[in-house]
Symmetry: none
DNA sequence: ATAATACGTGCATAAAAACGCATTGTCAAG
DNA sequence: CTTGACAATGCGTTTTTATGCACGTATTAT
């Protein structure tokens, strides 16, 4: 049985049954558990499955609610969120970008925080509904179903009319030379407007976002004032960012 | 059963039932109570649930009250929603008011409906995210935490710039003489703007909303073209509305 | 006030994963 | 045919993770 065959088999059974167990696969495929583990590791690296202790699950539990989807890679996101919250202070006006990492940050904000939060993300607005001291401005526009944020001319224009102290930016791809980039043009415009309307800009990036690039450029790294990433990242990978004057924080 | 599966299960039952008991989960998931406790602890650490003695609750009281409201009189709301969906046709531009009843309607819309939906409700925008043929416009403004909708000048102004075929209006209080009324001034302005921007106006009102009044008047009943209510309502209670030329539908 | 239930912690155990290393098989160049 | 490079696989060892149990403490209920 070839490796590719096994991969195929793993993916199909995963889609059929919702989960696979490493031990089960080893007997079914007549290989050692080591091999299965290696297979699963490769598939997880390619973002095709979600690796968990004992086996693997579907990466995006077929169209479950956003709040559940957010459960993935909780560990890393939680740590980043905890670090990000430390940058927030009473009385600030803060722009919150969409995305699951920024949503985590929103949920970790202290319940008694006094602030104005401006966001184009419906889940973030809803998550903040029980913070009685936070004034929430939800920015309107065309609703982008994938990431549950608004985009388009109106979103960008409305953002221009604010002047925030801080901006929590969810980052898709970050590269020392190419700068920030995202997979859709609409989102690029929105993020650009967020950056322009904010004094400080905090980028939240999991380790796998570093040194990658996407089709649409948002802007150069100089735009960032802070970068928060995981503790696992080897420090030498971060020096290019520090050299640009960005305050790099490892959660 | 993998740990992540249990976590998923806990989250979904929590969303469905509003609470979970540790002891119940232990038997349901076939693990010791210790394990359940550990699971709950982890989920609470990630701010996904609110841990309490004996089990766990949804984290955000606002969302709790919202889901509570959503769970009230499901029967009636479902029937009203089914009736409301029949008024919707391909190609229309439809304004959706906030509220749990209108949210039900949104969820009952056929998955292949082609339409443009304009709403100030974050949950409705999110609920429609899996309707690929619907263009969603989310209206921005100050976010009103109680009902998870936007209100304020910007919301009203933006509504003015649209001309819709249909408006699905969630109704708080309805009275033959006093007209439509709501418990907050901001919402009154918004509903007024929605009515003004729409050709047809459909009011969705459970039986207990009929012949009641609230502090802030939205407008006279003449503004309505349709009224959908429950089947239980005695027909004689509805004649005042019919006499005003409103098309009354009993679900 | 007292019983019953739930909680947290430390510990033991078993399962799973990670790691290094040896073996095997394949392919291509010599 | 041989040989060396290389990927794939399996094995043994160590490390990590998950889970249940025991026990003392806290919380709730009666």
């Amino acid at each position: 049985m070839l490796k590719e065959e096994r991969h195929q088999h793993i993916l199909t059974t995963l889609h059929q049954e919702g989960k696979v167990l490493a031990s089960e696969l080893a007997t079914r495929l007549n290989v050692s558990e080591d091999t299965v583990r290696r297979d699963l590791h490769e598939l997880a690296d390619a973002h095709l499955i979600q690796r968990v202790h004992g086996g693997a699950l579907l990466r995006s539990p077929a169209l479950v609610s956003y709040t559940d989807r957010q459960q993935q890679a909780v560990q890393a996101k939680t740590e980043i969120a905890r670090a990000a919250v430390k940058l927030v202070h009473n009385g600030q006006v803060i722009i919150f970008d969409g995305g699951t990492t920024t949503l985590q940050v929103a949920q970790f904000l202290p319940l008694d925080l006094q602030a104005t939060i401006i966001t184009n993300s419906a889940p973030i607005a809803m998550a903040l509904a029980n913070h009685s001291q936070i004034e929430i401005i939800l920015i309107g526009g065309k609703f982008y179903k994938n990431s549950l944020v608004t985009v388009g001319v109106e979103t960008v224009e409305t953002l221009r009319s604010f002047r925030a102290d801080l901006c929590m930016l969810g980052v898709c791809s970050l590269h020392p030379d190419l700068g920030l980039s995202v997979p859709s043009l609409d989102e690029a415009y929105v993020k650009r407007a967020m950056i322009a309307s904010s004094a400080d800009v905090v980028a939240l990036a999991a380790a796998d976002k570093l040194n990658t690039a996407a089709p649409y450029i948002v802007g150069p790294l100089r735009d960032l004032t802070h970068l928060i990433t995981e503790a696992i990242v080897p420090p030498e990978n971060l020096t290019p960012y520090q050299d640009l004057g960005i305050m790099v924080i490892q959660a």
